[in-house]
Symmetry: C2
Subunit: 328 residues, 2 copies
DNA sequence: CTGAAAGCGCTTACAG
DNA sequence: CTGAAAGCGCTTACAG
């Protein structure tokens, strides 16, 4: 904490006021005469005084910290999300305590960590939460919001894209283009995002009498690339491939290209997320744009309006299709 | 902080011991009889007691938090770095308070933020620091380490790749391949990384009588893409393009491809960083791999061994060249 | 091994 | 508008 921890007391001594007054000067809205305020501020600056947020939090019960947990390191989508969160939370006066989970599931350990530091809310992006962990958080009255995930079993807020309907629209689009031999490359199958996208997609096509070929991926580029490569090596040449996210679609796209299949002439490729790379000229991936900014805003909204306790809320946002070079 | 803040006092009451004893049970190495420890632990678990890190920090002067500041949102390199830092710092018992800077320079505001929360050290990856800010930090005895940057003027530690020599080796490699018409696409020119890579690269070639064409980029894909596109539209067809980082090289690569130039047959393309994408089949970018993990380890080492005050240290790591599909 | 007490740096009623 | 005092939840000498 430094060798030179100037305290409010030090400032008070020099400014010849009480420590309470120094505190008031640094408390927005507290009543201090203009004259006193100026004198104190001057001394504070000279001494390089910085109020101690820890001590303040201890008494106000407000830490202004929110915990953010992430897992996926490969998907740039989450990097963009992280940037947006820290930026927007800062604007609201919150800091973010960041945790990167290696495990599939957020462990008790990481949550304890958040609890110890008294974060006021927790945002979990792409990791899983056990109901036991959620219970503990509820017990401590810390609101949790799942971002880009949801879980009916869990008693927590959730903000995500309406994956099912988005996938349905993509299916309709593909069907309208005359595609009949269609592949879906999944993400991690235990994620709601992948499941919902698959459900919306296959259901629509099933109604039309089309059985979608499902390749079980894991949201990584490599797996999707290998799966698709193997698939076309078997002599198959689908009309369309829909990847559970952009990275997945990109993997499939590269495999198709490598296999000499021309996109979109022979095969249409669609992704999901609209990460920056998708718009790069070399790819020009058509995709479903998640309303990332709106999603972040909604999440923060949910966290800050935690007062009204009408149970966990689920917000589903629409997003929109972006037509680029991999679709016709 | 929750509606149910069980304190050590609460536990003490139920376990019929003093609050001091409860504290000892949660302090590694403190002397408590096995019998008491068990009883206290049992009660603590029943009550869901969680020591308050804020209160502890207030008295121990140890927050176990380090501040991490980042700026570049587009470069996946930093996403990987962030993952590595949180993972490794956690292993050492540290949490990371994350700040995403929008400004080119880290502002006083963000630093104050770190100071308020009493972080024990600060890591700055790709943002700039003013000497005024560094001075303030030194005044508070908080060690700062620049990661992947360095600045002679600034009194702070620094860990980075030996960019100059790496670029020199790349230049030698290219020269050895017979390249004579060579382009370097810079990153942001006010970064030490871009400057050093440029210096090492051009100096070597200058010695050989070759004047490198320098295209001034900004470390983004788009700029590099446009620059290269414009360059070749002017009728030029270089033997080799070296990008200040992978993203930059990828932008150039795509522009070359779009311009109908075959890589590596006509033009060799080399990047710097070895981000995951560079190994994707569609790109197969040859690049200089930064020893990312080592760099992170060294940084943490520097921060935790902050006791010996023999002035700021600069650590330069080597890294190595990775040959893929864009070089011969 | 254990308890009573002081103190970390703040905020916030309570008086004046 | 301002000061004295209590208290937030801990740790840590100091006694015993």
């Amino acid at each position: 904490m430094g060798k030179n921890p100037v305290s409010a007391m030090d400032v008070a001594r020099v400014a010849k006021v009480s420590q309470s007054t120094v505190s008031r000067v640094f408390t927005p809205g507290a009543s201090v005469s203009e004259k006193t305020r100026k004198r104190v501020m001057k001394v504070a600056e000279e001494l390089n005084y910085q109020p101690n947020a820890l001590a303040r939090s201890l008494i106000t019960k407000k830490t202004n910290m929110v915990g953010l947990a992430m897992k996926d390191i490969q998907n740039p989508f989450y990097h963009e999300v992280l940037g947006l969160f820290t930026k927007k939370l800062k604007a609201k006066g919150y800091s973010v305590l960041f945790v990167y989970t290696e495990n599939e599931e957020i462990q008790q350990e990481e949550i304890n960590h958040f609890l110890e530091y008294n974060v006021e809310a927790i945002i979990v992006t792409d990791a899983l939460l056990s109901s036991k962990v959620v219970a503990k958080l509820q017990n401590n009255a810390i609101p949790v919001t799942l971002f880009n995930r949801y879980d009916k079993e869990l008693q927590c807020n959730s903000v995500c894209c309406d994956n099912r309907n988005a996938a349905k629209e993509i299916a309709a689009y593909l069907y309208g283009k005359g595609c009949r031999d269609i592949v879906f490359v999944t993400g991690k199958i235990n994620t709601s995002t992948s499941r919902d996208r698959q459900k919306g997609f296959t259901e629509y096509l099933q109604d039309k009498g089309i059985e979608v070929t499902v390749l079980e991926g894991d949201y990584t580029y490599e797996t999707s690339f290998q799966l698709t490569k193997k698939f076309i090596a078997g002599g198959r040449k689908p009309d369309a491939v829909f990847g559970a996210n952009d990275i997945t679609a990109l993997g499939a796209l590269d495999a198709l290209k490598e296999g000499g299949i021309s996109v979109p002439a022979e095969t249409i490729v669609i992704g999901f997320d609209d990460i920056k790379m998708s718009s790069w000229p070399n790819y020009g991936l058509s995709t479903w744009a998640q309303p990332m900014e709106e999603m972040v805003d909604e999440t923060i909204q949910l966290l800050t309006a935690k007062q009204e306790n009408d149970g966990p809320q689920t917000v589903k946002l629409k997003g929109h299709f972006i037509h680029r070079k991999t679709s016709t």
